[in-house]
C-alpha cells in the first residue's frame, strides 16, 4: 500500500510538472508575437506595459528558463497578472475555484442520487414502462450535449414556468446550508439553490444517463448471483436481499467510475458555466481566451489541470482504502 501510494503521488506530481511546462511555454507555442496579439485584445497598452509582459511571459528567454521562472512564481503564489482585469491571476482564480468545485460536486451528487434509484428500478422491473423510461432517459442523456440541456431547462423553468432564474450566482450553497441549519431558516438556502439547480442538472445529465445504464446492467447481473439465493435461504427478507446483498455488489463498478466522472464533470463546467454565467474557472478561462489575456489563460488552465490531477489522485487512493477486493488484487 505504501509503495503504491508513493508511486501514485510521484506520477501525479510528474503530470503536474508537465502541465506547468506546457503552460509556461505558451508564449513559444503561440504563432506570432504573443504580446502583439495581446494588444489586439487589450487596446491601450503602453510600450512599458508590453515590456513588462515580455519579461513576465519570458518571450525572449529560452524555454527552460521560462519554465523555471514560472515554477518559481508558483512557489511564491504568483501566477502573473491579468492584463484585462489588472489584478493578480492567482487571486482571481482562488475566488472562482469554490464556485466551480461546488457546481461539479453538486452535479456528481445528482448523478448518483438520480441514477441509483432509476437504475435499480429499471433492473428490478426489467421490460416494464419504468425500464423503457430509463432507457430513453439514458439514450438521450448520452447523446444530447450538456449546453443544449441547459438551454432546454432555461426554456422550461425560466421562460415558460418562471420558477428558476436563468443565470447568476448568489454565493455558496454549502455555506448557506450551514447558516440555514444554524438559524433554522431555509429561505436563504432555497434562494441560493435556485441558482445552482439548472446548471448542476445540465452538467449531471450525461453522468445520470451513463450511471443509470451501468447500475441497471450490473444490477441485472447481480440479481442472478447465487449469493442472493444463499441470503434468502438464511431467512433474510427480500428487501434486505436487494438493498444489502445485491446493492453493495452492484455499487462497486458504479463507485469506480463515479470518481472518474468528477473529472469529466469538471471539464463540462467549462461549457456549462458559460451557459449560466456561473462565476467559476471555466468561465474565466473562456473569457480570458477572448481577451487574449495570456497570464490569466496560463493560470486558469494550470489550476484547472491541477485540480483535475489532484481529484483523480484522491479518488484513486480512496478506492484502495474502501474496496476489499481492490486491496486483495494488489497483494
Amino acid at each position: 500500500m505504501f509503495g503504491y501510494l508513493v508511486r501514485r503521488v510521484l506520477s501525479a506530481l510528474l503530470v503536474i510538472v508537465c502541465v506547468v511546462f506546457v503552460v509556461s511555454a505558451i508564449s513559444k507555442l503561440v504563432p506570432g508575437d504573443i504580446v502583439d496579439m495581446m494588444e489586439a485584445g487589450n487596446p491601450g497598452m503602453t510600450e512599458q506595459d508590453k515590456a513588462i509582459l515580455r519579461e513576465q511571459l519570458g518571450v525572449n528567454k529560452p524555454v527552460f528558463e521560462t519554465f523555471t521562472s514560472y515554477l518559481g512564481g508558483i512557489f511564491r503564489g504568483d501566477l502573473g497578472n491579468s492584463t484585462r482585469l489588472r489584478s493578480s491571476a492567482a487571486v482571481l482564480i482562488a475566488e472562482r475555484v469554490p464556485a466551480t468545485l461546488e457546481l461539479a460536486l453538486t452535479a456528481l451528487f445528482l448523478a448518483l442520487i438520480v441514477a441509483l434509484p432509476l437504475g435499480i428500478l429499471c433492473a428490478l422491473k426489467q421490460g416494464t414502462a419504468i425500464d423503457y423510461f430509463g432507457t430513453i432517459v439514458s439514450t438521450f442523456g448520452v447523446a444530447v450535449p450538456n449546453f443544449l440541456i441547459g438551454i432546454i431547462l432555461i426554456l422550461v423553468f425560466s421562460v415558460e414556468l418562471q420558477w428558476l432564474p436563468s443565470t447568476g450566482y448568489k454565493g455558496s450553497v454549502v455555506v448557506a446550508a450551514w447558516e440555514a441549519l444554524k438559524a433554522w431558516d431555509g429561505s436563504v438556502l432555497w434562494d441560493r439553490m435556485r441558482y445552482i439547480l439548472m446548471p448542476a442538472v445540465s452538467l449531471a445529465f450525461f453522468a445520470i444517463a451513463l450511471n443509470t445504464r451501468l447500475i441497471r446492467s450490473t444490477m441485472l447481473e447481480v440479481i442472478r448471483q447465487d449469493y442472493l439465493q444463499f441470503a434468502r435461504a438464511k431467512g433474510v427478507p427480500e428487501r434486505t436481499v436487494y438493498l444489502k446483498h445485491a446493492l453493495r455488489n452492484a455499487l462497486i463498478p458504479t463507485v469506480t467510475i463515479v470518481g472518474l466522472q468528477l473529472g469529466t464533470l469538471l471539464g463540462g463546467t467549462f461549457i456549462i458555466e458559460n451557459v449560466f454565467a456561473w462565476p467559476g474557472i471555466g468561465r474565466l478561462a473562456v473569457q480570458s481566451i477572448f481577451w487574449r489575456d495570456y497570464p490569466l489563460i496560463q493560470a486558469s488552465i494550470l489550476v484547472a489541470a491541477c485540480v483535475f490531477v489532484l481529484i483523480n489522485l484522491a479518488v484513486d487512493l480512496i478506492y484502495r482504502l474502501i474496496d476489499p477486493r481492490i486491496r486483495y488484487v494488489r497483494h
Partner: protein
C-alpha cells in the same frame, strides 16, 4: 406411526420459456422421516435442484410451483405467507449450495454472513453473543483460528473452507432439514471427502437434523445416505434403501447410473455412459420419458406413463417392467 418430517405430494414446478412451459418437477411425491439422510440422484437437468429449491420456496420467478403440496413438520409450506416462510428458512429449513465461491457474498465478511442467520431469527441477540456463537460454530465446522477469521472476507478462504463457512451458516440454528445441493461438486476430490465427513459428523451430533443430499454422483450418495431417490426428467423413477438400490437396481435408468459409476474393481476405460440425452422438458415424449434411451422399452412404454408403485415395503419404482 407419527407424521413424517417432510411429505411432498404431486409437486409440479414449471418455468415459462420462449419455446413453451418447461416442467422441471413433474408430479413428484416423496416423504422424509426425522433424522433421515436421503440421497436425491439424477443427471443435470433432471429437476433435482429445482425440487430442493421448491421445498425452500426459493424458485425464482418466472418459475413457479404450480400444483401439489409440501408438508413440513405438520405445516403446509405452500400455504404460508411470504414472511412465515422466511422465518422457517435458516431456522428450521436450511440449504447448502453447489459453488461456495459464488454462494458467499464477496463484499461481506464471513462473520457477517453467518451472523445474519442469528440476527434475523433471534432478534434479541446482542453483538457479543452473536459473535460468540458464530465463532463457536466456525470452530465446529473446522475453521482454524475461528476467532481471528470472523472479520475475513470470503476471498481469503479456500474453496473447501468457504463451503465450511456455508455449512456453518446453514446449521447454526440446528434446522430440522438441510437440503445440500451438490455440496461437493465444485471442490477438489480430497476436499470433497472432508466436507462429506463433516456433514456426517455434524448430523450425528444433532438429535434432529435430516439431510437431503442432492447429487449427480451415485457413489457419493451411496456412501452417505440411508435411502436414495432417483430422479429422471422431473419424475421420481425409483426410491429405495441405499443398499438395495446399489445391489439390485430395478429401474433400467438406475441400472444405467450404477453401471456408469467408475469403480476400482473394473477395468479403466470401461465406463458405461447411458446412451442418448435427457428428454426435452418443454415437450416431453408420450409414455415413459426414458423409453427412447431404454434397452427394454416395449409398446406400452411409448404410450403410457408409468407411476411410482410400491414393490415391497420401502421400495418404489416407476417402470412397466415391474408391474
Amino acid at each position: 406411526m407419527s407424521e413424517p418430517l417432510l411429505s411432498i405430494e404431486n409437486l409440479i414446478t414449471r418455468f415459462p420459456t420462449k419455446r413453451g412451459r418447461l416442467t422441471a418437477v413433474d408430479g413428484v411425491s416423496l416423504t422424509l422421516e426425522r433424522r433421515e439422510t436421503l440421497g436425491l440422484v439424477g443427471e443435470s437437468g433432471s429437476g433435482k435442484s429445482v425440487l430442493g429449491l421448491s421445498v425452500m420456496r426459493l424458485v425464482q420467478p418466472p418459475g413457479m410451483i404450480e400444483a401439489g403440496s409440501i408438508r413440513f413438520a405438520g405445516t403446509s409450506l405452500l400455504d404460508l405467507s411470504t414472511d412465515e416462510m422466511r422465518r422457517l428458512r435458516g431456522q428450521r429449513l436450511a440449504m447448502i449450495f453447489q459453488d461456495p465461491t459464488a454462494t458467499l457474498n464477496p463484499v461481506l465478511t464471513i462473520g457477517e454472513q453467518i451472523g445474519e442467520v442469528l440476527r434475523w431469527h433471534l432478534p434479541s441477540i446482542g453483538p457479543a453473543e452473536l459473535r460468540e456463537r458464530v465463532v463457536e460454530m466456525l470452530d465446529r465446522v473446522g475453521i482454524p483460528n475461528a476467532r481471528q477469521r470472523f472479520g475475513d472476507y470470503p476471498h481469503e478462504f479456500s474453496g473447501g473452507m468457504q463451503q465450511r463457512v456455508i455449512i456453518a451458516a446453514a446449521l447454526i440454528l440446528n434446522p430440522a432439514l438441510v437440503i445440500a445441493d451438490e455440496p461437493t461438486t465444485a471442490l477438489d476430490v480430497t476436499v470433497q471427502a472432508q466436507i462429506l465427513d463433516l456433514l456426517r459428523r455434524l448430523k450425528d451430533g444433532e438429535p434432529e437434523t435430516a439431510i437431503v443430499l442432492v447429487s449427480h454422483d451415485l457413489g457419493v450418495v451411496g456412501e452417505m445416505c440411508e435411502r436414495i431417490a432417483v430422479m429422471y426428467a422431473g419424475n421420481l423413477v425409483e426410491v429405495a434403501p441405499a443398499d438395495d438400490i446399489l445391489d439390485d437396481p430395478k429401474h433400467p435408468y438406475t441400472v444405467g447410473l450404477i453401471a456408469s459409476i467408475p469403480r476400482l474393481d473394473r477395468e479403466v476405460g470401461a465406463l458405461n455412459p447411458i446412451p442418448g440425452r435427457l428428454a426435452d422438458p418443454v415437450t416431453p415424449p408420450p409414455g415413459c420419458k426414458f423409453h427412447a434411451r431404454c434397452a427394454h422399452a416395449f409398446e406400452r412404454c411409448r404410450v403410457e406413463r408409468p407411476v411410482l408403485k410400491t414393490l415391497v415395503p420401502g421400495r418404489q419404482v416407476a417402470c412397466h417392467l415391474h408391474d
